[in-house]
């Protein structure tokens, strides 16, 4: 799971939460990282900018840990790449 995308998601979470990169692992829960609902919204904003994606509200609501977030971002990035491939 230490591919480029997941590393970037972990780094984005750490930077937004203003905590050390090493603190954030793929198995971290939001609770462990002290991420509340407003922090979560700020992380989604940072990820949208980082990956140039739009994360729907409903998808965002079910995310409770770092792994969910990495999986969600990966799905959106892949869907976007597929859509761009078709368009091209």
């Amino acid at each position: 799971m230490s591919d480029e995308l997941s590393i970037k998601v972990l780094e984005t979470i750490a930077a937004t939460q203003r905590i050390a990169k090493e603190t954030v692992t793929i198995d971290s829960t939001f609770e462990e990282l002290g991420i509340d609902s407003m922090d979560g919204v700020q992380i989604l904003f940072a990820l949208e900018n980082e990956f140039n994606i739009t994360i729907p509200d409903d998808a965002a609501k079910s995310i409770r840990n770092v792994r969910d977030m990495v999986d969600g971002v990966r799905q959106l990035v892949e869907a976007q790449a597929a859509a761009e491939g078709q368009a091209g």
């Binding site: 609902s37 407003m38 919204v41 989604l44 904003f45 509200d57 409903d58």
Partner: protein, 402 residues
């Protein structure tokens, strides 16, 4: 100490312009939430809003005035004029006595600000309209009411996000109660529909993608609204002496701060403000039979408010609770004013407005929420809650005909 009554109402809101349109929508439970118009709709994750659709500025103001007054402050002036007419008071009487103007506004002239920034950042122009600052400022509502009616007494604007109007009405109430003023024009006005400001709400992920369903099992967030409501307050003795129609008496006001989180509400803070209002009114909690809830329709607010109500009124409270935001939307700094008008009208008509768009109970919101249809009930004491972002809470208590 003077007893303080509401003798005039004026409303500009999504159900229409004027008190009759507002009350009709509340009495039948017809939600005025509809497709968002006029601000690049389609660029947002939420397609709906509670906008004032049939408002034409030139019906109420000269062209020159509209150059000077943003939409939000126009709403405030239109509502104040109606409230004054409705009270039966002559404006000369208000000018002769000490009359306080207290308005609530949260975000101010957003569309004016947005237009200015588009000129600068998108069109690359080097300057903005010189009326930008006086149109944007949150106190423009109070200022234009004072100029429109020629009132030179104390005038101010409270800006405490979604509690702004309740704070304003509460302060005006206290000023009359302690004898610092004889009349008040008080309420709130708001018009938050600018592209940039709506994008800011979208980023918070609290706006519903369909409609506003407070306390409902499948609620998905709030719906933004615009409008204004103004109340004329005066001492009960004066009102009775002049034979005025009295909608309701204001009997209590309470405030608190959560001191917890900038956006997440705390039930402790909400409960503390409700208790403070009960204490101010010198009545036990058991006297309150209706609450016009803050009831935004977000997952967090409605659960927290339910918990606070249980804490103050007991686990099985004998009272009805509804959120009229399901009908007129969340008008931010004007919310408490629309809901004060709704509560005063409910007491006058003996009809409690419903929570519209309700689809079924959420076990975490186990209250009698008057689902979808209004209820005939002659209530003596009613409470109106406002809980703001930033954790600033303001609660009013009204008394109807006993």
């Amino acid at each position: 100490m003077q007893r303080v009554v509401v003798t005039g109402l004026g409303v500009v809101a999504s159900p229409g312009i004027g008190v009759p349109a507002f009350w009709e929508a509340l009495a039948v439970g017809r939600s005025a939430i509809g497709p968002l118009i006029g601000v690049d709709a389609g660029h947002f994750r939420f397609p709906n809003a509670a906008q004032v659709r049939d408002y034409h500025a030139l019906d109420h103001f000269s062209e020159k005035q509209t150059d000077h007054i943003d939409r939000f402050a126009q709403f405030g002036v239109v509502a104040a004029r109606e409230a004054l007419r409705d009270s039966g008071l002559k404006v000369e009487e208000l000018r002769r006595r000490e009359t306080v103007i207290a308005t609530g506004t949260c975000v101010g002239g957003q569309s004016t600000e947005d237009e200015g920034f588009v000129e600068l950042y998108r069109r690359g122009r080097p300057r903005v309209n010189p009326m930008t600052v006086p149109r944007v400022m949150a106190n423009a509502g109070a200022s234009h009411i004072s100029m429109d009616l020629g009132l030179t007494g104390p005038a101010f604007t409270m800006s405490t996000a979604c509690s702004s109007a309740n704070h304003a009405i509460g302060m005006a109430y206290w000023m009359i109660r302690q004898g610092s003023a004889e009349y008040a024009v008080t309420g709130g006005c708001e018009a938050p529909f600018s592209f940039g400001h709506l994008k800011a709400w979208e980023a918070l992920r609290v706006v519903s993608p369909d409609t506003c369903r407070p306390f409902s099992q499948d609620r998905r967030g709030m719906i933004l609204g615009e409008g204004a409501a103004m109340l004329i307050l005066e001492s009960r003795d004066v009102a009775i002496a002049r034979g005025a129609r009295i909608y309701a008496e204001i009997v209590g006001f309470g405030m608190s701060a959560d001191a917890a989180h900038i956006t997440q509400p705390s039930w402790e803070g909400a409960a503390k403000a409700m208790r403070a209002a009960l204490h101010d009114a010198c009545i036990p909690a058991s006297e309150v039979k209706y609450i016009n809830a803050h009831g935004t329709g977000t997952v967090a607010n409605d659960v927290t408010e339910t918990k606070a109500i249980h804490n103050v009124f007991g686990s099985a409270p004998k009272l009805a609770v509804s959120s009229t935001k399901s009908i007129h939307g969340h008008t931010l700094g004007a919310a408490g004013a629309l809901e004060a008008a709704a509560t005063a009208l409910a007491l006058t008509h003996g009809t409690l407005p419903p929570t519209a768009n309700y689809t079924g109970p959420d076990p975490e919101c186990d209250l009698d929420v008057i689902p979808n249809s209004s209820r005939t009930a002659q209530v003596e004491y009613a409470m109106s809650n406002s809980f703001a972002f930033g954790g600033l809470n303001a609660v009013l208590i009204f008394r109807g005909r006993s």
